[in-house]
């Protein structure tokens, strides 16, 4: 056994990871691993904390998607206290989620992923980044920086904090929206929608056509999918049932509080990140040739499991996408395309909610009383299905917590995509910086 190529850190992603590629004596890929190197231990140090403090504590798991954790936690806490928040509170939670996700999707597409496509996968690393984008397309860059920030400003003006929010609580939210606030926010949401429409049009015309070859070759695998859909099968990011789809498109639906019956987690000695798998499909095997139990989450998974999008413009985009790539679509780089379809839905949802008269209702929180219970909350985080599972004692203090966060579901699939890309681009000892970047592109698509 020969040389080990050590890609560290994996860059333009949102976590801490490295890739090790082991070559055999002939210089071909013998083994690949995506190592996740950090562990913080939230599952332990949340023990003893009051349930009502959880939504504003666990959001610190991720500074890029704090709203996803904030809301999954709020739903778990609602369930612990046995309450249903008033409709206006749910609408405000959904509104904040939609606006936060618009910012997140702009961030990922333009700041993290676009350098590979706009500057090029083989370009020198010193220009293959957001600064390179600013030089190559200053007008678009200006707009992107402004629009990503606009979402954050909208949230801060109303809910105080965009990163690590405190707004959502068991039983509802901390404050109602006034008519003046609604009127201020609506035109801004419409601006976000216009920019979202521009973004998907821009990508369809200027980005995806040029990279069809890359889309068909980088990180390609065929596995299952998991995501949330409403009762009518439409894609929903805040609530619904879970749909677990096999690679052939057949699926099972189940309530998210039954997740333990369907999802197991495996531990490997070489990664702090666990490996969730579909229990009913057999023992986890994430070899390229014969994968068992592997499914993916995040944008591509969601648009694959959904029968339709929840809003009209996003639905038109989904129809165009499906005509081109079918259902389920398996090419890994299509995550980027799917991300932009969701961007449109998030922006449309924000506008719709701000046009809903009920959003300014004063009825935004129901009373809560501590009791011993178990509560499970689930939302779709930008990076995939996010499950918070709490057990508390009669004082409402946490005794047990289990978390499965978005990117973790993709662990096995990301390892497979890394292996596929490494084998594709490293042969007989020949590789360069561009080949190694293409291995990272296979990871980046998952937006981990």
């Amino acid at each position: 056994m020969g040389k080990v190529i050590n890609i560290q850190p994996v860059t333009r992603i949102e976590g801490h990871a490295k890739v090790a590629i082991t070559l055999d004596d002939a210089g071909n890929v013998a083994d690949t691993k995506l190592h996740v190197q950090t562990l913080r231990g939230f599952e332990k140090f949340c023990e003893g904390r009051p349930v009502e403090e959880m939504p504003r504590t666990v959001c610190h798991i991720c500074g890029i998607c704090p709203w996803a954790h904030h809301l999954a936690s709020s739903k778990a806490a609602d369930a612990c206290f046995g309450v249903t928040p008033p409709p206006a509170a749910v609408k405000l939670r959904r509104l904040m989620q939609s606006v936060a996700y618009v910012s997140d999707k702009i961030l990922h597409f333009y700041f993290l992923a676009a350098p590979d496509f706009v500057i090029g996968p083989d370009a020198d690393y010193s220009v293959r980044n957001v600064v390179g984008i600013i030089q190559a397309a200053p007008e678009i860059a200006k707009k992107v920086v402004h629009m990503r920030h606009l979402g954050a400003q909208m949230i801060e003006a109303f809910a105080g904090r965009s990163i690590h929010p405190t707004f959502s609580l068991p039983g509802g939210v901390s404050k109602p929206m006034t008519e003046a606030e609604r009127q201020k926010m609506l035109p801004l949401a419409q601006e976000l929608l216009e920019f979202s429409k521009f973004s998907i049009k821009f990508a369809k015309e200027n980005v995806f056509p040029k990279y069809l070859e890359a889309i068909k070759s980088i990180g390609v695998i065929e596995v299952g999918y998991l995501g949330t859909v409403r009762e009518d099968g439409a894609l929903d990011l805040y609530d619904g049932k879970l749909r677990l789809m096999k690679p052939d498109g057949s699926y099972d639906d189940f309530a998210y509080d039954q997740y333990v019956d369907y999802i197991g987690e495996w531990v490997e000695p070489w990664s702090y990140q666990k490996f969730p798998y579909a229990k009913k499909w057999g023992k986890l095997n994430f070899s390229l040739d014969n994968p068992v139990g592997v499914y993916r989450v995040n944008t591509l998974a969601r648009i694959n499991v959904a029968d339709k999008m929840a809003t009209p413009l996003a639905q038109a985009e989904l129809e165009e996408f499906r005509a081109a790539f079918g259902r389920p679509a398996h090419y890994t780089l299509l995550y980027h395309y799917a991300r932009l379809i969701e961007l449109v839905q998030c922006a449309e949802t924000a506008v719709q909610l701000l046009q809903d008269p009920e959003i300014t209702s004063r009825d935004i929180r129901v009373p809560i009383t501590p009791r011993a219970a178990r509560g499970i909350g689930c939302v779709e985080a930008p990076r995939g299905t996010l499950i918070h599972d709490y057990t508390c004692d009669e004082q409402g203090l946490i005794t047990k917590i289990n978390l499965i966060v978005g990117t973790t579901h993709n662990n096995a699939a990301m390892n497979m995509s890394v292996e596929q890309a490494a084998k594709q681009f490293i042969k007989a000892g020949k590789y360069d910086q561009g080949s190694l970047n293409k291995v990272e592109m296979a990871i980046r698509a998952y937006d981990p």
Binding site: T38, F45, T57, A152, G160, R161, K175, V260
Partner: protein
Amino acid sequence: MAVKVVEDWLNACSGCEISILNIGDPLLDILPALEFVHITALVDHKFFGQLGDGVTMDIPEAVVGIVSGGVRNEEQKHELEEIRKKVKFLISLGSCACHGGVPAQANMWKNDEIFEKVFRHCISSTPAPNPEDPSVPKWTPTCAAVDEVVKVDIAIPGCPPHPDWIVEAISALLAGKTAWSLPERSVCDTCPVIREQKSGGGPVKRWLENMEFNPEEGLEKMRCINEQGYLCMGPVTLAGCAGKTGVPRCIQARTPCRGCFGPIRKGARPMVEMMGALTSVGLDPKSLVDRRAMMNRYIGGHGFLTVLPPRPAR
């Protein structure tokens, strides 16, 4: 000439980096003045060579080093020490880097207990030995703030720090200054709510209902949250969460402060002082549920949160 900068996240959530992006439009004016020779979030510079064949961690020389996150494992510690050697000024960005942050609540347990729970007692996981392959870095004995490991020149606290302060601190360095810090004021000093130095008395209320306020009126018409009977860490927390102009961010959401900017000055004892503040408005501080973790939520480094010895048998 652009100033060379190294930036990296250690035991962090990436919220600090998002806060850098939240500088917004002025970001495009600032970026040309900086040359990021390493920033994991945005630029593809690698520690072990661009072809992954190096054997030692290569951190480029730079004038400014910015690190977010505390120190949780041996590799982060090594990287931090390397960064310190290669930069002239080191900035600790955010409360994890300055005080340990939320992840330093882990310091209330032994490392073994945490691994035991994560890898052998989670309901959806098949119990397994701890990952101990050499590819996953070993945990350090505690989750530490950056200045427990190396010398820090400038601290920008906050969870996340406000973009105004990131711009101000970096601009100060670019202008040739060697120090910068936030003024020593409390959140209450910047909070517009009505204070009468008294509450209804009794135990500190759990946060099970919303604050009393009229949503059509500004914060200047709302009663202080401590005086409404709830815990608000404003009295012992450094001001600045809303930047140069706004009102404290959590209060803006009509929710209590939990101390994300950390203590007002070095040597402060926020828990003792906060208990005093509650007493001074007539509340019983000992009644506060989960007091130690609640009052040290963001500052578990520097020995503020530790494993307590087992209680003696009665």
